[in-house]
Amino acid sequence: MKKLINAPEDVLVESLRGVSLAHPELAVDLENHVITRATPKDQGKVAVLSGGGSGHEPLHGGFVGLGMLDAAVAGEVFTSPTPDKVQVATKAVDRGAGVLHIVKNYTGDVLNFEMAAELASMEGIEVGTVVVDDDVAVQDSLYTAGRRGVGLTVLLEKLVGAAAEEGRDLASVVELAKRINGQGRSMGMALTSCTVPAAGKPTFDLPDDQMEIGIGIHGEPGRHREPLAPASEIARQLVEPILADLDAAGPAIVMLNGMGATPLIELYLMYAEVAALLEKGGVQIARNLVGNYITSLDMAGCSVTVLKADDELLRLWDAPVNTPGLRWGA
């Protein structure tokens, strides 16, 4: 295992220490693994909190700041944070208007955030929850844990963060979050496995001439393995399942996301392929993001997210955001 780390068990806290040193505009609670804004938002506004296992950086800690999250709770690598820590963060950011929990749909995340919400309500804090499940690689049926939450989480955090900043109430923010979740889909692929520090070796073996299609963001192998293909063919394998699942004709926000070890030169190349296919499918890309936003440690690969947009979503998208990972208009 080749990583810039000390001991595997210290990765999370030592990395958070770096975040704390690099970003005076954030407050980092090293004991509870919670990142909040150094300057909280105004009293009376809904707070937006997300969290999950670490290893997806900049998600979620890199999205704390004006116009996006109020708090991010970091679990160990690929392991949901525990309810008590989510509860600490929820309490810390509640400004009297309730807290939205943005949860990615994984059994661990769902269970821990459920318990956290129970703890919060025992303390009289109103919590609303959206469970993001946008991954079309997984059949949403009785025979799975449901679709995973992947790339859409980034777009949702941005949009919902903007809505909360406007002063909307919790019910309306929750409704918006669920609407966004309903009209966004993602699909990802990997060229290589990632290596979990504590495991010390790649999660799966992938021969030099193979790739995984339909991966998650935790080094889970994909739905199927395919011979390595050119970017144009990979783009097709990502875009088709999305368009088969979502009537995406019309304006959309599109993200071409890297899994952590894929450089920008490749991501832009992939974006050109993906954009061409989407436009053929009737999608008008109104806004886009190209880069490493929701990663899987040192995995090489990419994912595509398509969110159907309307004037409201585009206005929320364009609203100022000032976080380490996403910044404009501020």
């Binding site: 392991t79 525990t82 309810p83 994984y106 661990g108 495991a199």
Partner: protein, 214 residues
Amino acid sequence: MTDTIDTGTLTAWITRFRDAVTEKREWLTELDSAIGDADHGANMARGMAAVADKLGGVAPGTVDELLKGVGMTLVSSVGGASGPLYGTFFLRMGMTAGTVTELDATALAAALRAGLDGIVARGKAEAGDKTMFDAMAPAVDALDAAIAGGASMADAARTAAEAASAGRDATLPLVARKGRASYLGERSTGHLDPGAASTAILFETLATTIAERT
């Protein structure tokens, strides 16, 4: 000597379980690499280390105090799917055991059954979903049956351990329908479920500890 398990022995069980998951940590993670996210060994070792830290040096009080402490510590130190599930297991065990200092075979069986029900209440797993349930349910059933048949606690626990490890092995061909492994669909067959594997360890250590009671 009456056929009971007291807080001292329960503590020994917990300690032995800690030792075993720490020792088997790599193996559990390897199982989780195949169909999950390669952290089950780390999760269990971290959680049980936190539990041992908390127990360390403190005289065990009542059974419910002990087991609820274990559960709370797991909930607040593991995370992932296994944290709330194993946490709930011990919390419910403790609640059912009550403020006593020892359990007889029937009370132990009832506590374990409550723990299992807690896992189902949280995780909604059914038989054949390829989860820890598939090791735990047969174990608890076997324990019940053995005790109903008049077996000693030690024999009943040994039977339960065997049922758990058979249940673990039976997860091999299953297609997962819960947890991360379910994302793999058909590709999840041919692998043991990591949670079923840690559960088999849980019952194996229980049997050994009871057998070695002083």
